[in-house]
């Protein structure tokens, strides 16, 4: 819709400047991954060499990260959605406390959470050395995002009425939950999943403590390349990150908006 309010050119200029200020580092980082020599700039010529190096050195971190993020989403859907329902329907005051407690890992530095996990389960070697250990860390960190989003949806008066309506029509709990509540909360579940996926893909704090040389994720590999390789390789790595993550995010966003159209009220 077109507005009749005249736009101020000063504000427009300001917006452009701020946007450029934010976008420039990302663009620079990407382009320097394509340059032959970063210090000489684009005059040194362009190459795909660094990208190939990244893929051969760190290619496995891409699949590991995506796999962990997807597992994290699945785990969140299983534990988070059911947990959200329990919290939303609980009449106990303890449930409010519990929900606050659940959010704690977001506020507490990831390093502390990771240290606690290592202290508690570090001795279980099989577990400690597997990707499951990293996954558990990601789950702890992302669960509140799913639970809070979905619980808020379950608490809506509309959904309570839908659940009651299906109960009056003879539906038991399992039928109510799967045939009515989950479809009605689907937009919230999908937007929670999107958030969880995004957080898991980019998670560094916890993962840096929890990983082993054999269980590295994309951001950990990125830190490693920055620390130990040429800056061009680090930049090329950033580019790989963008190439991998952006289409996935767009795809999930598209699915979420599609579901919102179908199930939104």
């Amino acid at each position: 819709m077109k507005s009749n309010i005249r736009q101020s050119p000063i504000l427009l200029l300001l917006t452009i400047l701020v946007s450029l200020f934010i976008i420039c580092p990302a663009l620079l980082s990407i382009t320097s991954g394509l340059e032959e020599n970063y210090s000489k700039g684009w005059k040194s010529g362009f190459t795909l060499r660094w990208l190939r190096d990244v893929w051969s050195n760190y290619g496995n971190t891409v699949t590991a990260s995506i796999a962990i993020a997807l597992c994290c989403v699945i785990g969140n859907v299983l534990l988070g959605v059911t947990g959200a329902y329990a919290l939303a329907r609980s009449k106990s005051k303890l449930s409010i406390w519990f929900e606050e407690l659940l959010t704690l890992p977001v506020a507490v530095p990831g390093l502390a959470t990771a240290l606690a996990l290592i202290l508690a389960y570090g001795q279980v070697r099989e577990f400690r050395q597997s990707f499951a250990f990293v996954l558990v860390g990601h789950m702890i960190f992302t669960l509140p995002f799913m639970v809070r989003t979905v619980a808020a949806s379950f608490r809506r008066q509309e959904l309570i009425a839908l659940e009651e309506a299906s109960a009056t029509l003879g539906a038991g709990f399992i039928e109510r939950f799967f045939s009515i509540l989950v479809p009605a909360a689907l937009p919230a579940i999908l937007s929670g999943s999107l958030m969880v996926f995004t957080l898991s893909i980019g998670e560094f704090n916890l993962t840096w403590m929890l990983h082993t040389p054999l269980t590295r994720t994309l951001p950990v590999g990125l830190a490693d390349s920055y620390a130990s390789m040429r800056i061009e390789i680090g930049s090329a790595y950033t580019m790989v990150f963008f190439i991998v993550v952006l289409p996935l995010l767009w795809l999930m966003q598209f699915v979420a908006s599609l579901a919102d159209k179908k199930y939104g009220t």
Binding site: K91, A165, S166, T168, L169, G172
Partner: protein
Amino acid sequence: MELERTAVDIRQCEKTFLDGTKALQLTNLLIEPGEVVALLGPSGCGKTTLLRIIAGLEKSDGDGSVWFGSDNVTRLPVERRGIGMVFQHYALFPQMSVASNIGYGLKIRGVSEQEIKRTVGELVDLVRLNGLEHRKPKELSGGQRQRVALARAIAVRPKVLLLDEPLTALDAKLKESLRDELADLLRRLNITAIHVTHDQHEAMSIADRLVVMLAGKVVQVGTAEDLYRSPKHPFVASFLGRINTLKVIRDSRGQTGVCIGGTWIPCFASVNKDSEVMLRPEDISLSVVDSLDSPTKIAHRVFLGDRVHLRVHTEDAGDLLVDAARDCPFQTGESVKVHVAAEALMSFGDY
């Protein structure tokens, strides 16, 4: 569609919410098989709580019990009570078509695909939704949604049909036509129905019997006509229609009565001094007055088409609401004389 007719007996039910509010005082109520009853009262009077106790969506405190015929259903969860319920905002399943909404309860019960199709078809005819079977709820008008909700509730052949403010979400004009349609449909179905509303016209036109509630308590139960003509409680009188409240005085001979526009009207019923009597606006008639300086004057006049609503100012009884016929000639500012029959005064003993 032939439905079972079940009596509903509410025994010793009461409800206190977690925060300590007493939503429903100790209540007993018997609803006859096939009867349509309205729970009527202002918001917060406990009518919805009572309905939800009958449905099984709330539990009565203490020893309260709910009986459907000879079955004690108090401990049955809502999904096994065999009720049908229409919700205030209909609560139609948004992702399902009209047909799937109506057939949902049957599908849950494991009824065959063919049988569901037949029943849904029959109901679609009954509530006149033909051609809309494949629409989604959000593609329907308010009135159509209401009819889907009704069809969905009766599809499962409930023992009791519960209606929670079924017409509140509709606009005034539609409300009136759907009101009569609903009343007609309930009679044809011959089903026990309990209908919650705060709208007295809705209750009067749909229900056989009205249960008037106030502050968690049943105040009076009866037919609309009984309640209107002989209310046992001033609240019932004021809630069903408009009312004038007058102060009772005692004259020099010790007789009680009221003075309206200089005319003494005795109270026959035993009323105390300082108590109040009530008077319906249509029980006051007006006539031309000889002297122009009479203090009884028309203060306000609203022409409503079939009726004329007047506010008459009197010196002794304050402002009175008067309901006159269409052709009432008196205009604002004109002096009038007020006539009231002594029988028209409604008094309330100890309630």
